[in-house]
Amino acid sequence: MEDLLPLIWAVILGIAVAMYVILDGFDLGVGILFPFTDTNRQRDQMMASIKPFWDGNETWLVLGGGGLLVAFPRAYSVIMPALYLPLILMLLALVFRGVTFEFRTVARRTRRWDVVFAASSTLAAFCQGIVLGGFVQGIKVVNGAFAGGAFDWATPFAALCGLGVTAGYALLGATWLVMKTEGEIANRSRRQARVLLAAVLVFMAIVSLWTPLAFERIAARWFSYPNILFLWPVPIVTLLVAYAGWRGLQQNSASLPFLAAIGLFLLGYAGLAVSTFPYLVPPALTIWQAAAAPASQIFMLMGTLVLLPVILGYTCFVYWLFRGKVREGESYH
């Protein structure tokens, strides 16, 4: 049981982070696409499509960070200081972005809040990519504590991840708008989604080639026997999902492109999980080394098993309640 607990928690935390990336990903993506819109009315509509959801979406980020502290305090106490600057920048961007939802509604001149919304959404997405890159490339740990410098994360690889995540969120945002809006916004989003889909595939390809070349542990994971027997379909499935999304965009399907974008995220995410498992702080701490006391993990697990389904239940309820399209010039009717 004691060996199983960290594994269970790694799965729960993985679900929380995946939920965050997909859910806040699409609403950050809508923000990233804000500058490429012509009229204020359209921006109102874009905003209206995400307004009932953003707060709940961002709560998964708190659960991700909080969950890491709960289940793996040793990893939390290493990762947070190691990625100090990009994390704090991301948080500051999210501060600006979160209040914009309310301020833009109350303000007389919305122009400045449009700029703030776009800039902070983009910065938050880019910083999250940097954090991902900094995590994948490894963190220097001595005696269980972070022992690197303030800019250890600043590598070309992390910058690439930053751009990749930004493009990915924009893809989620564009396909969300395809699903939730009509008319001009939906048409433009469809065009944007095609470009973004291609860009995301390119970024995924580069990361997939870069990581095994640069990190021996990742190459060994993917290309050693018998792993490769199980893993070779991953890139093929990725291409199939991308093709489905492309077809959906060509055929004006409402929800297929969004589902395909989610599929791409999950596949990329699974790929990263395969690359890093069992490390929580590669290459220093495994999930077992980083785990909290079993009593703490069990105490929290009991609550999670009861509350997580409830949370998923009312999250679904809200998405169901605010289902359907946001029409031009109005928000929810």
Partner: protein, 466 residues
């Protein structure tokens, strides 16, 4: 060798954290009380069908939304700062504090976020009862949030239910951890503070509109409801604070000594109305005191003894001046609150409240009292715990992250700039919404009128053009 570039990383990390948490606490301390008020208004409207309740609920919902958003974004920051600034604390206390914070997220944050969306944007999509239910769910969520975070915070003051192994805290009794010795007192005191904070804002807004002669019916309702609440809760806070103080005397006597400016534990304590504690000289300067006042309050005996600051080594004492003055600010505001509430209740009973302009003027200017009292109270309790982060277990100097001082300094500056901009604009907008009043277009929010964004924009425009 010390150069000006050698910034003290502990002091910087503390300053940054104190800044972000002080900004954060402003919003929950308001929204916890306001959520309960909103739920009350929604229930009253459902019960009586009276229009003023409906308009007031719409009006305060809009203000709640802006305040809540600022509370959310400043709170997300904190959940990461525990790691970025206090990674050693996360390691030592993570087994205990982590699950308590985790329960806050699972039990409260999602509940609040989801049902606030329904409150704000549900409009005609949901039946009336679900709207009322959402308001209640948000109020319950904010209270549960306070429950868990104060359980975690109280454990840092009065740790219990754990054992230390190799310098790391391990849980062995969760009930003892959650209901640690200071938790019931702290929770009651803080929750009541939050109701007082919201109560004085509601009172001030009502008084403001009464003075201007606008939205008179709603303003009277607000003022009446606020006074009725405050006349009970303001005196109650004195009792709760007293009990919390006695609990602190039992578990953290050095904090009490700092609050009282009490150095020599072998003598009864005077209550210093004013003094300048001289930490190096271990004495008070310019003291104006009520002889044996502190002994009387704390031990119910004018000759009673309680530990002084000199009973512990100098390095185990909190920053006395800060704790001492913050305590006096809190006390002074508490006194004002009781006086204002009793006076208002007297006027209300005599039927003169709405015409007594001097009282309304004072009430209209007193919206800030709860916020300042809450921050002062937090300074008392948190600075009073120093030099410990977890009392008796982990010193603040050992809790800090291995992050270069320059990184902390730069991000501290960024926090000051960003929070300065964001929160001053937020308060400006809230003030505009308040000025528009419940009779304005803001009242339509949350009701059945059309697209919420559009109507909110109308409200915003009217607010800004008036």
């Amino acid at each position: 060798m010390s150069t000006p570039m050698d910034l003290d990383p502990v002091l910087l990390a503390r300053s940054q954290f104190a800044f972000t948490i002080a900004f954060h606490i402003i919003f929950p301390s308001f929204t916890i009380g306001l959520a309960a008020y909103l739920a009350t208004l929604e229930i009253l409207w459902g019960w009586t069908g009276a229009e003023p309740y409906k308009r007031l609920a719409g009006f305060w919902t809009k203000i709640f939304a802006v305040s809540f958003a600022m509370g959310v974004v400043s709170g997300v920051v904190l959940s990461y700062q525990l790691g970025t600034n206090w990674s050693r604390f996360s390691l030592v206390a993570g087994n205990i504090v982590g699950p308590l914070a985790g329960y806050e997220v699972l039990a409260a944050f999602f509940l609040e976020a989801t049902f606030l969306s329904i409150m704000l944007f549900g409009g005609e999509r949901v039946p009336r009862w679900l709207h009322v239910f959402s308001a209640i769910a948000v109020a319950v969520g904010t209270t549960m949030s306070a429950f868990w975070i104060l359980a975690a915070n109280s454990w840092m003051h009065t740790p219990a239910g754990h054992e230390m192994r190799e310098g790391i805290a391990y849980p062995h009794d969760w009930i003892a951890i959650i209901f640690n010795p200071s938790f019931p007192y702290r929770f009651a005191h803080m929750l009541n503070a939050s109701f007082l904070t919201a109560g004085f804002v509601v009172l001030a807004v009502g008084a403001r509109h009464l003075l201007a002669g606008r939205h008179v019916e709603e303003a009277r309702t607000m003022t009446r409801m606020a006074i009725a609440l405050l006349v009970v809760l303001a005196p109650l806070q004195l009792l709760l604070g007293d009990q919390h103080g006695l609990n602190t005397l039992k578990h953290q006597p050095t904090k009490i000594a700092a609050m009282e400016g009490h150095w020599d534990g072998s003598q009864p304590g005077d209550f210093h109305i004013f003094a300048w504690p001289d930490q190096k000289g271990e004495r008070n300067l310019y003291a104006i005191s009520i002889p044996r006042g502190s002994s009387l309050v704390l031990t119910h005996d004018p000759n009673g003894l309680f530990p002084g600051l000199n009973d512990v080594p100098a390095q185990d004492r909190p920053p006395v001046t800060m704790v001492f003055f913050a305590f006096r600010i809190m006390l002074a505001i508490g006194g004002f609150m009781i006086l204002a509430a009793l006076c208002g209740a007297w006027l209300l009973w005599r039927g003169q409240l709405f015409d007594t302009r001097w009282y309304l003027h004072i009430a209209a200017q007193s919206w800030w009292t709860g916020f300042v009292a809450v921050i002062a109270g937090w300074v008392v309790t948190e600075s009073g715990r120093q030099p410990w982060t977890v009392q008796g277990i982990l010193r603040t100097a050992d809790a800090v992250s291995p992050v270069p001082a320059a990184s902390v300094a730069v991000t501290f500056a960024l926090f000051v700039i960003v929070y300065g901009i964001v929160f001053s604009i937020g308060i400006y907008y809230i003030n505009r919404l308040i000025a528009t009043g419940p009779g304005g277009a803001a009242a339509e929010l949350g009701g059945e009128i059309g697209p919420p964004l559009a109507s909110a924009r109308v409200a915003g425009h009217q607010a800004l053009s008036q």
